[in-house]
């Protein structure tokens, strides 16, 4: 075992005792969460469970009422944001905007390019390469607004991947993406994890996907109900039931058992 301090240093994300309230209601309560280098962490939980809020806290978009956030060992916003690729759940991106798919991916490189400089040929090549990896190279020159919803999502994913971030923060990346492209995408994530030590935080409602592709899983409903091995959290006979109506049994863990029904009893 490494000493505690050393373990902390290798953590890309470290949340300690995070509390967030909206309109006098706790959305996150005493949340402890971590993500190390080179691991894929899946986050599951019911609608309104605070998953997107958790990601925003990590990125410094939402300031917690209490607790400490460490991103690459520092306060978020101080440094390292250029090493994060973010895919919001509901993109605020304008749907009709006079840019091509390639232009959108290039935006992901702006931080690297720096102020007062324009993207050059090399940046364009990098962007084309990522577009190729998400299967959108043929659409590079098309107006972004003319793409279908799933195609736009794939372009957003490419933008998040473009600067080769150390950490990818993905809020329901599968939204609108067809199953073939989804499989390709998860394979790509695993490849990047193994080759470049990429870490991924991924919110998903697809329990099958999370258990199949995540190294660890966090189950969140205001509080963290489980944070640990993805495999250990589910036994095979429950997987079938996961896809049934009763999500209560989705995580087979004593700490998690009441996770999805908690609020209905309050």
């Amino acid at each position: 075992m490494k000493p505690e301090s050393q373990v902390k240093e290798t953590h890309y994300v470290d949340l300690e005792d995070i509390w967030v309230a909206y309109d006098h209601k706790w959305v996150l309560q005493s949340v402890y969460f971590s993500c190390g280098a080179g691991e894929i962490v899946g986050i599951v939980g019911p609608n309104g469970g605070g998953k997107s809020t958790l990601l925003k806290v990590i990125l410094g978009l939402v300031r917690p009422d209490r607790g400490t956030v460490r991103l690459f060992g520092e306060k978020p916003g101080k440094r390292g944001l250029q090493e994060v690729g973010y895919l919001p759940q509901i993109s605020q991106a304008e749907r009709f905007f006079p840019v091509s798919a390639l232009d959108v991916v290039l935006m992901g490189l702006y931080a690297r390019i720096g102020f007062f400089r324009r993207p050059d040929q090399k940046d364009r090549e990098t962007a084309m390469e990522v577009l190729n990896r998400v299967g959108m190279a043929d659409h590079a020159g098309r107006p972004f607004g003319a793409l279908s919803g799933g195609q736009q999502q794939r372009v957003h994913i490419a933008r998040a991947l473009a600067p080769h971030p150390r950490l990818l923060v993905l809020d329901e990346p599968a939204t609108g993406v067809d199953s073939v492209a989804q499989e390709d995408f998860y394979r790509l994530l695993a490849e990047l994890r193994d080759a470049e030590g990429l870490s991924v935080l991924m919110v998903s409602h697809d329990i099958g996907v999370i258990t199949a592709h995540a190294d660890r899983i966090a189950c969140l409903n205001v509080e963290i109900h489980y944070h640990g091995e993805a495999q250990a959290c589910m036994i095979p006979e429950n997987i079938a039931r996961v896809f049934g109506r009763d999500l209560k049994v989705m995580v087979h863990d004593s700490r998690c058992a009441t996770c999805f029904r908690r609020h209905s009893h309050e």
Binding site: L81, M107, A111
Partner: protein, 270 residues
């Protein structure tokens, strides 16, 4: 035409008109993409308060309008960042307040004979050499500001949240843009007037958005619309002896409807 250009004030007017309409066209590109039209209206009208303050204090109305508009633009930006008040509410309050203050200042100064009509509706033909220099220098500064941060402004307009996460100083650049917008508005008051300047912050970009699908093309069309309507408006207003601002805006609106029609045509496959 040559007869027109033989007159010095006409030459000045053309020079200023072309530069200023280019500035407005480029600002308009972002105003349309960010849906800032109403902010443009608010800032333009608040310039009236600034002009009146200048009259009251005996300083150059252009300078006081500059200060006033920059403050109002940034106040609107600051307030609309808070969740409690929506942007259009904030603008509605500020621009009414600025106009009201303007009326009060004029009343206090007791000078009802100042050329308010010129400020309200523009009189580019009356632009002096000195004003021309000031206006051109400021116009070039606004253009430079936008060119320097163009890709960041584009990113913010497209997806503010991701831009922030990627390290773009969104809040700072927002205030910078609002400042540029305020300067652009004030230097164009001489040309089209307080009442109509906001039209040129919207129409060129709006017309361009109907026909262009890349941002380069959109800026190009936006500039073309602004320059054509300004120069055309100047010539027409000279011969028809009409207020230049009104003719310019009417021409621009006409071009918008043409672009709108062309945009419809593009939709059907040939």
């Amino acid at each position: 035409m040559s007869e027109l250009l033989a007159l010095e004030f006409m030459r000045n007017a053309f020079l200023a008109g072309m530069l200023l309409s280019t500035v407005l066209a480029v600002v308009s590109f972002f105003v349309v993409l960010r849906r800032f039209s109403f902010i443009g209206v608010g800032v333009a009208h608040s310039a009236f308060g600034g002009v009146a303050l200048g009259v009251l204090l005996g300083v150059s109305p252009v300078l006081s309008a500059l200060g006033f508009s920059i403050i109002v633009a940034n106040a609107i930006g600051w307030i609309s960042r808070r969740k409690e008040i929506s942007t259009d509410t904030a603008i509605g309050i500020f621009f009414a307040l600025a106009m009201a203050l303007g009326v009060i200042f004029i009343g206090m100064s007791g000078r009802y004979n100042v050329d308010l009509f010129g400020y309200l509706f523009g009189n580019i033909l009356a632009i002096t050499r000195q004003e021309l220099v000031i206006v051109c220098v400021l116009g070039i500064l606004v253009l430079a500001g936008i060119v320097l941060f163009f890709k960041e402004f584009l990113f913010i307009a497209f997806d503010q949240e991701v831009a922030r996460v990627n390290g773009v100083p969104v809040t700072l650049l927002d205030h910078f843009f609002l400042t540029l917008l305020a300067v652009a508005v004030v230097i164009c008051i001489k040309m089209v007037g307080i009442v109509l300047v906001s039209a040129l912050l919207v129409i060129p970009g709006a017309a361009a958005s109907q026909v262009a699908r890349s941002y380069g093309a959109m800026i190009g069309v936006s500039i073309a619309v602004a320059v054509i309507s300004t120069t055309g408006g100047l010539i027409l207003s000279y011969y028809a002896d009409l207020a230049s601002g009104a003719v310019i805006v009417t021409l621009a609106a006409l071009l918008f409807f043409i672009a709108f029609g062309l945009g419809r045509l593009q939709k059907t496959p040939r």
